[in-house]
Symmetry: C2
């Protein structure tokens, strides 16, 4: 049996890193009052294709025992490729039972039907936060999304992150102010600056009908970035004016100005960010990780005023999506891991098979006080039992007294070798030993 | 858009119940040192079919853009229908990197390609614990699985549960001692006692070649149940002897005798349980929920000595699987829910839009001390803001002083109406108000 390319699986010590990340994200999102939702893994293929900005790289499903009529029925199901289309559907379907603005987080796997040879993920985990309004959604929701995700990113065991924020109204207004006829086309071209040299982008702009001066101004705008609201003056210095541009500058300054400084994350206004292929209408987000720029953006999103609609209402939304697998799998491959392959902080040694009940009883007394504990699986020599703990990364081995003796319990920190008498009803390890600890790669 | 039958989705207040259950299970499993693993959602169709005891009700996958060669390649992927086949594959694939006995828990969705009209779940969540050895697995692993799952079931917000334990060696040995030629066939017939009257089962047994006395003895064995080891004497009283029967009685007595009494769960030896269609080789488990017997077993498993194998080793295993959706969805439909649709314990009122920064600042000070908090989305009249909290089930509304005044902060418990001055850097609600609380159905 061989591993399936594009379907990453983690070993237990690596999974502990992912659990740490998932727990941290959940804690931050819930502290901010975001409710958790899970949606089913499948959507009707039609729904996915009608929203599609993903080149239809989806997996369709078929019951192995499907009848011919079923297969022809045209109600094919497919695995979701993001969590945005599903939440839009969920909101419309449950609108009467939800409170708006509806603030939710969602952490689930998604699937993309990539070609096998491309070596890209075909199954991966995403964490999304969104705020969805009914008919209206105040702008401060954009500010909140940036603040909450900024705070969430700050606690991750990863290299330095840069949360880049832009606003399509700034770009669109600027292009309109320049007298450009099709601002969306220009946005799509400027969006290529990540992959294509500036000269080539400039040529694409003039090929699209822009004058040399217009193309030059577009590139000058894309060059502006600032970690505070000083970008507003830099834009104004380019001498272009338009109402939409002014609205965009106000909005972007509000978002950037409101982000609290957090360790490990730089928040920056970056006017190169356009997300040209998506349906955003205002604020847009991307995120780069230092040393892993080739991954592209690992956390992206923005405002869409037409997230969903039913016969009576529209549901404007704003949100951001963190690619957990995209972020973690390369870091794990580079050596990020945890200090153990089990949750256990303590291994209870086994004197002999007859005294297993004694060891199990000690284990229960430790567990009752919140200490993850396992019992040695066989009564090998103590040296071997200590090695068993070592191989699993368990920091403590507990030695009960031999059956029938009135000896003392003792516990050994196998990292230092220090061994002390201990009471199973009161001994506690340091808090940091209670849960697996993240180990940064030693580079 | 209409809901898809067989793909249950929960509202946020219901999802809080599921999160409570998932958190509880994780806590118990980790206290016992079980490591968490997630496997990919897909397996090669061949792997699933070769293990198949599920009438091939699987969903196969196809890339929408698949080329003809790809479709013909015979390496079709399908969604897993349980977590046992995947963990067997994972263990073999990662055997060199795992420590044995390998103790893991796994909580994931699984899918079954049921016919749409059957109204059965097509997507559901399971929680599995298994212990897998390399070449050998001591019997006490069976005892541990029963103890851990018994403890996990005890903390669930559900009606009384009965964990029924049997052992196929008891049944097989008894049938062999009776002189029955094909004990497995008899096991499969006796397994129907749940759905078919005893008389009809007896007739099936005599039709299968058993004498009247033999059939009578088989039914007498199936009638034996006891919450302690007294079942051993009841079996012996039937006057059948066989070595395999003796081994089975010893094993079953060890498991039942070792299960600690826990609230809300009765552990019972029940010799009607055979799990005739599965590949178990010793201990077997099933679980019934009071008032919901028609669901069948909501938590099942057992020992299989041939879980997996590679060229060099066999991997015997023992485990049990809890059907979380199977358990919860009917209870939620009957009114089990939580007291709120958001994690927030506090809603910070908004005096006016200009003082949003003040309210956000108070919220951050509460969050810094672990209190989930949200800020009112608009500066409506306070009465309306209180109603907004009420509709979400948020127990407290916090009123900051009006901007520019040196008034006091105050907080109101909206359930009692009691309002008091409070300090954003020290006020704490009772612990039970910090997280959503389960609400039993009022029947």
């Amino acid at each position: 049996m061989s591993k399936l390319s594009g379907f990453p699986e983690l070993l237990p010590a690596e999974r502990n890193v992912e659990l740490y990340v998932l727990d941290h994200l959940r804690r931050v999102f819930e502290l901010h009052g975001f409710a958790n939702v899970e949606t089913r893994a499948v959507e009707p293929l039609e729904t996915l294709l009608s929203k599609g900005e993903i080149d239809k790289e989806v997996y369709t499903l078929r019951r192995l025992q499907a009848t011919d009529e079923e297969s022809d029925a045209g109600d094919t199901l497919a695995l979701h490729y993001d969590l945005t289309v599903p939440i839009a559907r969920y909101v419309v379907e449950n609108a009467n039972a939800l409170e708006f603005p509806f603030r939710r987080y969602q952490i689930q796997k998604v699937w993309r039907g990539e070609r096998p040879q491309q070596g890209r993920f075909r199954e991966f985990t995403q964490a999304d936060i969104d705020i969805v309004g009914r008919d209206t959604l105040p702008f401060h929701a954009d500010v909140e999304i940036a603040q909450v995700m900024g705070e969430a990113l700050a606690g991750l065991p990863v290299p330095h992150l840069t949360l880049q924020i832009s606003n399509r109204k700034v770009l669109e207004g600027f292009y309109l102010g320049l007298g450009v006829a099709d601002p969306v086309a220009v946005m799509r071209i400027v969006d290529k600056l990540d992959k294509v040299p500036a000269d080539a982008v400039k040529k694409m702009l003039t090929d699209a009908g822009l004058s040399d001066d217009q193309a030059h101004a577009c590139l000058a705008l894309a060059d502006i970035r600032a970690t505070d609201t000083s970008f507003v003056e830099q834009v104004r210095a380019l001498g272009v004016t338009h109402d939409v541009l002014e609205t965009g500058l106000d909005e972007l300054a509000s978002v950037v100005g409101a982000c609290r400084p957090v360790d490990g994350v730089t928040v920056t206004a970056d006017l190169r960010i356009a997300r040209g292929l998506d349906y955003y209408t205002g604020t847009v987000f991307e995120t780069r990780m230092a040393g892993y720029e080739s991954l592209g953006s690992i956390c992206s999103g923005g405002r869409y005023d037409q997230l969903a609609a039913d016969n009576r209402n529209t549901y404007p939304g704003t949100g951001i999506s963190l690619g957990i697998s995209r972020l973690l799998v390369p870091l794990l491959a580079d050596g990020l891991t945890s200090d153990r392959s089990v949750p256990s902080a303590v291994l209870i040694a086994l004197v002999d098979e007859e005294s297993r009940a004694t060891s199990t009883d000690v284990a229960q007394r430790l567990r009752a006080r919140g200490i993850p504990t396992e019992v040695a699986h066989k009564a090998a020599k103590f040296g071997q039992q200590i090695k068993q703990a070592e191989r699993r990364g368990i920091p403590y081995v507990w030695f009960p007294p031999a059956a029938g003796t009135d000896g003392q319990h003792s516990v050994r920190d196998i990292r230092s070798g220090e061994q002390r008498d201990a009471d199973p009803d009161s001994w506690l390890p340091p808090t940091t030993d209670l849960t697996p600890q993240i180990k940064e790669p030693t580079s």
